[in-house]
Structures are given as C-alpha cells and as structure tokens.
Amino acid sequence: MTDIDETISTVQVTIDGRAIEARKGELVIAAAERNDVYIPRFCWHNRMNSVGMCRMCLVDIDTGRGPALQPSCMIECSDGMTVQTATDTVVKAQEGVLEFLLINHPLDCPVCDKGGECPLQDQTMSHGPGESRYVEEKRHKEKPINVSDLVLLDRERCILCDRCTRFAKEVAGDPLIHFLNRGNATEINTFPDHEFSSYFSGNTVQICPVGALTSTPYRFKARPWDLAQTESTCTGCSVGCRIVVDTSRDELLRFNGVDSEPVNWSWLCDKGRFGFEAFERGARLTEPFTRREAHDEPEVVRWNDALERTAAAITGALDNAGAGSIALLGGARLTNEAQFAWSKLTKGIIGTDHVDAQLDDGLDPRLVLGLPRATIAETCAAGGTILVYANDVKEELGVLYLRLRHAAVWDGAKIIEVSATDTGVTAFATASVRARPGTAPAVIDALLRGGPTPDGVAADVFARAAELLADDGHEPLRVVLGRPSLAESADVATAVARTILDRRADATFLTTLRRANVYGAIDMGLTPGLLPGRVTLEDGRASVASGWGIAANELPGAPGLDARGILAAAADGKIDTLILLGSDPLTDFADRELAERALQTTPNVIAVDLFENDSNRYAHVVLPASGFGASDGTTTNLEGRVTRVGQAVAPPGKAHADWVIAAELAFALDVDLGFDSLEDIRAEIARTAPAHAGLTEQVLDDDPDGIVFPLPRPQEPAAEETSTEETSTEAAGGEGA
C-alpha cells in the first residue's frame, strides 16, 4: 500500500478532546473503542449491520454544524469530526435510554442465567438511575417459551435490540424469529407452531444483551462468577472456530464463540456449540479394559496390563508377519502433538505405513497438500467469483457456510455451485449448476471453456455461470473443493481440481475435509505415503528419520494402504493388529459389511477412544483417552491454521492424553519416543516437519487466532529466485494436482 492510499483511507477525528486516526468508513463507536473510549450499546454488534435502534450509544457528534446527539453505531467517522461522549446532554440521554429499558424489565436478575454477565445489568450499575420512578405496572408476558429444542425466550426480559432477529436473517439466513406487533406491544417470536430451527440458533443466545434468550442445555447450570474460562478451539469440525470454554467444578458447561478475525467472527454452529454435551452425557470410557473375544464382557485392567497386552500384540505381529501386518485407522480427533506422537510410533518405531486418519470419506491427501491453498478470508473475500464443488458446507462446516454466505450476500462475491442436488449454498449461489454424480469434471471444464452446455444441464443456469466465469478474468478463481458424497469416488474431486488448474492456473483452493483435526493428521503423517510436515515418504525419509533419531530404512519402505485397503486386508486376514485411534469404521466407513468382517477377522484390535462405540466393542484392548476439553495441545484447521486447544477439565477417570498413550505404548515396546511434554513434541515437530519450521511457543502465543503453516519463508537471496516452483507443499503434492 502506498502512502497516498494511507492518507485516503484514514481520517482525523477528535474524541473527547483526543485526536485520533480512524479508518475511513469506520463507525464512531468502533473507532472510539479502538482508542479505549467505551460507548455503551445494546443493539450494535460489530459483526452485523447497524440498526441504531436502542439509542444507548448516543453521543454528541459535530461535523461542522454544531454538536447533535447521534447514534455512534450508525455514524461513520469523517475528517474533522468532533465527538463528545460524556457531555451533560449525552449523559442525560444515555441515562434516559437506560431508564426506559428498565421500566419494563423484570427484576429477576437473581434467577436469570445472564445475571453477572449481563450488559444491561452492568450498564445499570455504571450509568443507571438508582431508584425507579416508574410506578405503573410492568409489561407481562408468559415466562420462557421454547422457540426451539435448544433456545428459550423470555419476552419480558427482551429489550428489542434486534440482535437475534438480525442474526437470524442477516447472518444465518434463517429469518424464523421476528419482531411481531408494534410499538409498546412489540415482541420477538416465531410463527405459531414453527420452530426456530436454525443450525446456528445458539449464537442468538450468545449475543442477547440480556437474559431473554437462554439455552436449554445451560439453563440454571451455573452462575457466571462460578465459571472458569479457557480459550480454545472447537474441534467439532475442521473449521476450527475459536471458543471460550466455560467450566465449573470440573464440568464443561458452555462454549462461546470468540471473535477470531480470520475464522469465525464470533459465531459457532449449534453442533459445535452444543456438541460438547455429548462429553457429559455419553458413556465415557474411564478405565482401560481388555476382552478375550470381541463382544465379551470387558475386564477392567490396570494401565500397565493393557499396555503390555498391546505391546505383546504388536511385537507378535512384527515377529510373525512384519510391520505390514499392523495398521492404524483414525487420529483425526487428536491434537497435532498426539498425532505426531502416533505417527512417530507407527511409522518410525513400528515401521508400518498402513496408517490412515480418513475413512475413505474425504480427499486424496496428496491432492489436499498439492493444491495452491487459500485461507477462509481469501476464499470468502469481497467480490470476485467462488466456485463450489464440495460436501454440503451448511451441514458439515457450519461457520464456513456463514463466511461464504456473508461473502455472497453482503460482500458481492458471486458463487457458482456445481452439485448433484440442492445444498445449503444453493440459496445464495448466483448460479447453481446441477451435474449428475461423476460428471462434474466435464461440466466444470465446459463452464470454464464457455460451452457447449453438457447434456442434462439447464442451459440458462449454465450460461449464467459460464458468463460469470468468463467475466471475472482478472480475478483469481477461488474454489471450495470437497467430496460431495461418499457415493462418489474421491477421484472425481481430483479430476475436478485438475480440470480447474488446467484452465485457470491462478485458481486457489480451500478444501473441505470435515473431521475435526483431519488436516493436522495429514500434516503429521497419519496418512499413507506421507510423513510429518507434508512430505512424501521418499522426500522426507532422510530428514524425518534424522529428526526422529532412527535410520532412514527403519521408516516404511513404500506407501501403505489407505483405509479401504487396510479394512480389505484385515478382512482377508492379512492384518494381525489393528489400532483404532478414535475411529469407528462400523459407523463411519461407507461399507459397513467390509468393516465388520475386518474387525471380526483381525486377531488383535486395539482401540484408543473416548466413548464406547460399535467398533470398539470388537476391541481386545480398550485404552481410554482424555479427549477434547481435557487435553492441551494444538489443532490444525482446513486452512492449515494451527491454534491452541486448552485443557479446561481433568481427564475423566483414568483416561490419559493421547500422546501420553503413544509414549507409554512405545515404552512398553522398549522404545523412548523422546518427549516428556507437549513443548518437547512441538519442538520436535518444528525440527522434523518441513512445513512446520518456525513453530514455536512464542509464535503460538503471539496470535491466539493461530498461524497458517508453512510460515512465509524468510526472504531468500536473489540468486535463488530461479528455483521458484519448489515449495514444501509442492514437494509433497506434485503428483496430486
């Protein structure tokens, strides 16, 4: 950015006598806050359009025609503007507004879930009139009504700030709650007998400035002052929304979204927000146990016995049939550190490459790593064209859906969707091209060539989409790429990517693998043919081996089997020991019958998990892991962004952290994995994994929003400029794309 741009995009404003610099177009309330002047507000929310209706943020604004009371949430800073936030007039007006809000507000703070963290209560303490002058009767409404299974509405407490309704309409696109009636009788409600069934309803609870909207799961659970807060990242899916985890007496109580600029803008999907409920309700595994045969009654054992039995199985398998008879399925649930530890254990110590964190439900990992990647912000930037060929992001990657929706609805991005059926994106796509399963590569090729319209595709939609793609010539094409359905082979998505890159070399990709930390798993090498740091077995053999302190030939010799291959081999009796690392192939693998035969046939099934599930009922050894909320570490989202997850509660029962289990198992195999702490592991990742060079505690602490790996490389000497193509992603993925 040049100096000229700088001067154009900033304006000089005086706030309470202090000269400050504001961005052009910045709202007064935001500019003031950035400069530590807090203007009270109820309706304004920095992630939604201003409505200026609560009138709490009135301040004196003078743009040359004398000071006038103006809502600071609606007025943009302009050059030479003078703002006064504490004149007598302002204070009187704000106190007046507060009094107006309180006259009909019930005095039930002591039994209100919001009590103690309530903006209205806080404002009243700091600004409000002491004693009520209101002697008339307050408004009465039926106490909380269920607007959905998850959300309760108490209309007496509501101050009609339009936050929930604005969220529902503007952000989520589900205007199912609405202002009804008029004037003093105005209230929020749903259409009679229609639920507020939105995948994002929990956000309304988070942004309600009073206790009008509360969540059923959290209702009466705790008082804010009893809560401990831990910042973390949601691992409900691979978007990786930043959250604050509220706990009380070692119990997870609530997730709230944190406003992370690059990722979730403070929003969460309901699956993520309320999904942790499962941790509290499901049958958690709290003790290691063993079984003689599948489905036998489990026999609770000590950790040592469980580990020894596992070690014996592994040693036996190694002795009898070699490393190739040992396989591992899963790992997407784990932190990066735990994934690295298991990767080291399986690939470095045991020497098997039959390791797969995906269950044939995603994309070819080499494709994922080989594509030119874009962040969420780059993909969902204003204007331009976004091509979506993916799984239904509304169903699977909620907050990415919100970001895409925002780009399309508010920021003028045009979305072209190619899919076999309607998806969540269809509602705001500029063109939704229906392509029969398997035909997407041909259809997209035709779109990028500008025709002819392939058979079975609606001509008008095709024409509109083709025209958009032709018109945006100057902009790099942004692609959201995933696997639309398990029924379609991952090869189709690979072909789609190849087609796009053939025609639009400038295209960038955001891939949409769904599972929690599946990107971490791929980065840490829990996938056949790859080692930690996005390198292939071949390319990384020397460096990874030396990082791990083993001989290069101790690493697997050739790429191993993927999930389908592992299960097929197991069903054929070729796998002796199968480790289920937080995976449940019976439920998650498309071919249940094959999975069932595999589990039945395999002599030693070892499960590391949080809950009992269909698959681990076959396990001969079950090792309880501590899991989300009870472990520290880092996680990687679909952008390749690494953020910290925080331990908020103690592990249940005798559960151990996943990385500790790997280390203990190694120990039982008479090997020292070489780390005693997460810091040790991270240091080793930084040393060993080429894509993760520069990963330090400092880097992680500096930006809680996380950092996308690989880090930009330090400026190279000019002489090297010729070898441009060679980046670490290229190294791994040359053949993918």
Binding site: G52, L69, E76, K92, F100, L101, G183, N184
Partner: protein, 465 residues
Amino acid sequence: MSGDRVNTDQIPHIVTGRLAAHDDAHTIARYEATGGYAGLRAALERTPDAVTAEVKEASLLGRGGAGFPAGVKWGFCPPGVWPRYLVVNGDESEPGTYKDRILMERDPHQLIEGILIACYAIGCAQAFLYCRGEMALAHERLGAALNEAYAAGYVGKNIMGTDYSIDVVLHWGAGAYIVGEETALIESLEGNRGMPRLKPPFFPAAKGLYLQPTVVNNVETLSNLPWIMTNGAAAFHALGAETSRGTRLFAVSGHVKNPGVHEVEFGTTTFRDLIYGYCGGIREDRDLKAFVPGGASSPWFFEEHLDLPLETKAVGNAGSMLGSGAVVVMDSETDVVKASRTLVRFFATESCGKCTPCREGTTWMERILDRIIAGQGRPEDVDLLLDVCDNISPELTWPPKQTTICPLGPSAPPSVASIVRRFPEEFERYLGTSFEVTVAMKGAAYVPKPDTAAVATGTPGETAS
C-alpha cells in the same frame, strides 16, 4: 394586519378548483374536459431538466409536513444512478390532517398527472402510489382513474406517443401512522414492517426504495404540478409570501362554527383568517383557548398567535410549524389535559417500537396522564412527565432535538409542554394540589399566558384551587 380580515378568496384554486366545481371531477371525461393532462403534454414538450427548473422556480414546498422544496429534492438524486423511483405519500394520518384524501378521492387524475410530470423530470422508472389503507373510496377512485389513464395512453408504455414510459402502481397501506414517514413508507413498500431508517445514511434520494435513488412526495405537492406546468412557475410564485409560495390546503377542525378544508393563499393568510373568516369563528362565540397550528406534532398556539401569517418561517420562529396543514381549534370549555392525553395516546399507539425512548417513553407518558386524569396523580408527576419528555426530546427545544430516529417520538411532548406552562391550573385541578416544575422547556411557544407570567411556573399558591 387587521384583526378581522377575511380572505376575499380571489386567488386561483390550484388544486381544488375542479373538485369544488364538479361532482364528477374524478372521471377522466370531466378531467379532460377541464384542461386535464395539458400539464403533462406541456411537460413532455420540454426537457426533463427544464421541468425540474420550472418547479424549482415556482418554489413549491413539500406539503407533507417537512416543507422541503420539491424541485430541489428531485435534484438530490445522485447523477447516473438508475433506476430511480417515485413514491407518492398518500398515507395521510396525522391527527387533524385532511387534505390528501380529498385530492385522491375527488381529483385522482390531477394527482396521476402530477406523478407523471415528476417522473418525467426526475427520470423515474416506476412510480408507486402509496394510499393509506383505511381509505376505501380513495382506492376505488384511484384504481378506476389509473385504469382510465392507462386506457387513454397517459400511463404505461409510450405515454402520449412519446418514448416516455412508466407504470404507476397503486399500493395500499394497512393501518400504521408511522408509514407516513418517508423511510418507513419505503420499508413498508418493500413489504416490511414500517419502521423508519436513519437519515443519514438512508436519505431516500440517495438510498431509498431497494436502496435506489427515490423521491418521496406528498399527494398535495404533486397535485400542484399540472397547474404549474400549464400556468408557469411565475404565476405560482406570485402567490404567497416569503418562503411560502402558491396556495395551500388547510383543514380547520374542532370547535369552529364551520369546520372545513380550505385552499388559501400560502404565506399571507393568517390563522385569524382561517378560524374567524373561513370557518366563521368559535362555536357558540366562545373564547379561543388554544389551537394546534400544524397537526398533532406541533406545539400549540394561542390567542396571541392568531395574526401570524401561514408562513413557514414566521410560524417556525414563533415556536411551532404548519406541518401538515391541520388546524385544530379548542374553545374555552376544552379540558386541555384530556386533549393532550388524546394526542399523547395517539403517538404511543402509533410508535413503531424501534427506538427505546419512543417505544417506552410515549407509553409511559400516556400512563402518567391516565393516572392524573383518573385522580391518582402525585404532585411530582408533572415534573416526571416533563422529564420523560426531556428524555425523548432533550431540552424541549423547537425545532425539537431527539433521542430517536424519527420525529414521531419527539412529537408526543409538545402538547404536554404547551399546556404545563400555559394552563398549570388544569393540572392542579386534577392533582388537587400545586406542583413544581424543574425541567426546562426551551421551545418558543412553551410560554405562560402573556399577562400572568407568575402562574405559569406552577409555583405553589399562585392559583386558587
């Protein structure tokens, strides 16, 4: 100016001439027979810019309440931004106001012609005639007139054989006073709740209907255009005075002998002319107690204001406004506390509910007044009432400041402020005691009776009760 001057009514009746002379003025036959659509023809022979210039020159002020010059407003549409829309404000609902309905029911073609002239000049691609919901006859007359005008080639494609084409769509409201406010009108026309938008940034001329440039004009404003186009801006400008040119409709209601709607010369006619001339004076020759000069939102005037001319600036300087041309007269027998409650109740009922001070404050005001009238007032209630007013309209200035988005909320305080100073004894009668007022009222019309200044402060013991 002589006190009993009666307007001799020699001025042209610009908007009511035809309907006064003919019962069938609403038909196209009568309309054409009496010079109808000649203004449109004249306009089409000129450039759009020339038409705008003519209207500017005429100094036609908006008749909807705010009194903004029509031609100037048209010029605010940002150049080069298309499409532009015209929205006709026929939502007439301000208490006391009765003029637009007459024009819609009795001379609909004149309005349609005005719309067509305006759209031609502005370059609008479509016009929407928003008629208040509760006016069934107006819907029928406007619907029938539009059908006639379409059939006759005045509206629709290639108007009168030219390349000027536009649809005029009749739209019905459904009962909400606030929808008369132009941004609420636009919201309503978009199918939404009629809740105003904040100006800025949502000035209709820049970001109006569908966020496109939109001109909102009142029915009476537009009904003047055919005459201006046929008779010229100069003839229009020759009528009236100062900042108020042409003629204007005033509805005089309440305690006068002959209530009625009168088209009078703007700017020169006085309130006395209206009340004592046109309307024959106060019923049963009683004394005048007070009058509302410009609709329910305006501060009240009294005896000493009678000789003010109906001139925007003069009335503004005296602390009130001509607003929507609604004069409501109250005789000496009037219970002004109840009258004020009626007005406050109106605003409380009609608040859209968007702004906290209006939604909560107007209802609170109504409750306090109800309680006072029911004999349950406390001495401190009047001051409380005024402080609530102050929190909606700081310092009770005129023109009003506001803590709200639109002027509806701040329209509730004026009647209260008008009577507290002027008729404190009426509150005292309800309260059974004197009261103290600490809240300042800065509006120029909020003054005690000229000769009994002491009473107006409401100091204890000043009045016998």
